[in-house]
């Protein structure tokens, strides 16, 4: 049903090929194709528009050297713009504090609990004393799930089956961490939709009550156009410090990453690449830009030009 990116750009670049300069007319069709390619990579439509407008200006403003074909220049410009948008340098999480408190939030099924286990594992390997807190009181067996994962990585779990208020559980967990000399507490919370007022109030309340050192928004890399709405609302309510992009072991282009970055201007700090506890990576903006663009495709395209 969908052409792949390479075919699309190939078609678009045909328009440009053999032409000495990028003019308004011959660039319009290419820009449209690039925009469609971005949208098919799940970049939000409006973000794609902004990005391609910028690319267009950039293309118009640059003189095309005789040695360089317009097609190649376009690819270069697109790649540069995306990399810049993805946020330049990679950024670490803040684990200062005694204990450092890391709050995890996001939509249902995005991979929060799994990431909580992975982050605990990651920090434990740096010889930090970690406690994970089971604050999802809604999803069936959510607490058991966290217990199993914590068991796999060998960190302690705080849970309270009698308590139905996640704010209280989070506070208890932090007190417990202090008593037991833990240096980092990771708070796993229930999945929630941005439009669920009661649940959004709850997460805001948790954040207010525990004043975390780091708040992370976990998002599925397969998310489509709605990623923008969700990220915006979560950011308005909990002003998160960074984003975790999950399920990148799949074959999604991950355009949501670009949309979120463009809309909330918060760095992506980790990527999750599998169900195993070791499948966690730091985020590299240039790699993500390449993934969205399908750089493998694009590079071969340039070589053929």
């Amino acid at each position: 049903m969908f052409d792949n990116l390479s075919t699309k750009l190939d078609r678009a670049f045909k328009t440009l090929k053999g032409q000495g300069s990028i003019t308004e007319i011959n660039v319009a069709q290419t820009i449209k194709e690039v925009r469609r390619a971005l949208v098919d990579a799940d970049v939000n439509y409006k973000v794609a528009k902004t990005v391609t407008d910028k690319i267009k200006d950039e293309a118009m403003g640059r003189d095309v050297l005789i040695a360089v074909s317009p097609g190649q220049l376009m690819v270069k410009i697109v790649h540069e713009e995306l990399t810049e948008l993805m946020g330049g340098e990679k950024q670490d999480i803040n684990i200062k504090g005694d204990p450092a408190i890391i709050l995890i939030a996001g939509l249902q099924g995005s991979g929060k609990t799994t990431f909580t286990g992975k982050l605990a594992n990651f920090l434990k390997k740096q010889n930090r004393q970690v406690l994970v807190a089971a604050c999802d009181v809604y999803r069936p067996a959510a607490i058991d799930q966290l217990k199993v994962l914590a068991g796999q990585v060998g960190v302690d779990v705080y849970s309270n089956l009698e308590e139905k208020n996640p704010v209280k559980i989070a506070q208890e967990a932090i007190a417990h961490a202090k008593q037991t000399g833990k240096k980092v507490v990771i708070i796993d919370t229930a999945g929630r939709l941005a439009v669920d007022e009661a649940m959004m109030n709850e997460i805001a309340e948790i954040k207010r009550a525990i004043n975390p050192t780091e708040t992370l928004f976990v998002v599925d890399s397969m998310t489509g156009q709605d990623a923008v709405n969700t990220a915006k609302t979560f950011n308005e309510r909990i002003n998160f410090d960074g984003v975790v992009l999950t399920k990148l072991d799949g074959d999604s282009r991950g355009g949501a990453a670009l949309s979120i970055r463009a809309v909330v201007e918060k760095p992506i700090k980790f990527i999750s690449t599998g169900e195993k506890m070791e499948a966690l990576d730091l985020f590299y903006p240039d790699r993500m830009a390449q993934r969205i663009l399908g750089m493998g495709d694009v590079i071969s395209l340039v070589e053929r030009a």
Partner: protein
């Protein structure tokens, strides 16, 4: 933000009395559709169909245009084989009717099974669940809790056991108990993982040793907030298991699930259910006209 009326006004102005819809309006239509995750390919297809209609019918009034657009989009959605599609139904003469539920990680398979079990149970059907996700942490416990909520038996061998043999036993138990429906939960798996996809084919084969036609239904669950990757999911799951129906979850959010239009059209698979929340009653039988309406209502914002 554009309003809905605005959009249709504009669209009509451009097409009324013309044989071709002009570029700018089509760009707007494209924007509206891709914004609901319909995707560029399907969007272009929809636009072509509208152009053809306009060319054929010559004159199109404002009110007709709205209707045409809705009709053309709805036409891409496969008709639900179980009929009009307002009530949950099981085909007559198959007992137990075996449903295998598949999909990528975290889309809502287990929850959908809990809700489905509840609806069948309420309709007086005898239901058996099979906990064949033996991989994800506490997946068996999760299904068991759903089984308790609904009040139906869950067949399980515990974690890290062979999923195919759980499925086999669930089907066997279904026959022994004279159940009407057996629903098999499976572990979430990304469609690009060949080993895991082959496991699904194996689960199917093993069930077929007991009931040759099983599973009678393979329900692919798609997360309504997923973008164009859902097309690849449908492609690979269809290859591995002959998907017969779709469920779209999490439509209680702001995501529109538009990607399903292209999927239903390309693979000729009907959407059967939609998930609209985490509670036991938050499952609805899919109604394509309501779905199309919700697609167009987003521009009201």
């Amino acid at each position: 933000e554009k309003t809905k009326t605005n959009f249709f006004d504009q669209l009509s102005k451009a097409v009324v009395g013309k044989s071709k819809v002009d570029e700018e309006v089509l760009d707007d239509l494209e924007e509206m559709l891709v914004h609901s995750d319909v995707g560029v390919g399907t969007t272009i297809k929809i636009i072509k169909r509208i152009e053809e209609r306009v060319a054929r019918d010559k004159y199109v009034s404002t009110s007709e245009l709205d209707k045409i657009l809705r009709e053309e989009v709805a036409a891409l959605l496969e008709e639900n084989s179980s009929g009009k599609g307002t009530e949950l139904s099981l085909p007559a003469g198959i007992k137990p009717y075996v449903i295998m539920v598949v999909g990528v990680n975290g889309v809502g398979k287990t929850t959908t099974i809990g809700k489905l079990a509840s609806q069948f149970h309420k309709a007086g059907k005898k239901v058996v669940l099979g906990a064949a996700d033996t991989f994800r942490a506490a997946a068996v416990d999760q299904l068991i809790i759903w089984g308790e909520r609904v009040g139906v038996p869950v067949i399980s061998h515990g974690m890290n056991t062979d999923p195919a043999s759980v499925a086999f036993d669930a089907v066997k138990k279904g026959v022994e108990m004279d159940a009407d429906v057996v629903i098999i939960d499976t572990a979430g798996r990304l469609h690009n993982k060949v080993g895991l996809m082959n496991e699904l084919s194996k689960i199917k084969r093993v069930m077929q040793k007991f009931i040759e036609e099983a599973p009678h239904e393979v329900l692919l669950v798609l997360d309504g907030s997923t973008g164009q990757n859902a097309v690849l999911q449908a492609t690979e799951f269809t290859k591995a298991t002959d998907v017969t129906a779709l469920a779209i979850t999490k439509l209680d959010g702001t995501a529109k699930g538009g990607v399903v239009i292209g999927i239903s059209d390309e693979f000729k698979i009907p959407v059967k259910y939609i998930g609209v929340g985490e509670k036991i009653d938050d499952l609805q039988v899919f109604n394509k006209y309501e779905f199309v309406d919700s697609l167009f209502s987003q521009n009201k914002k």
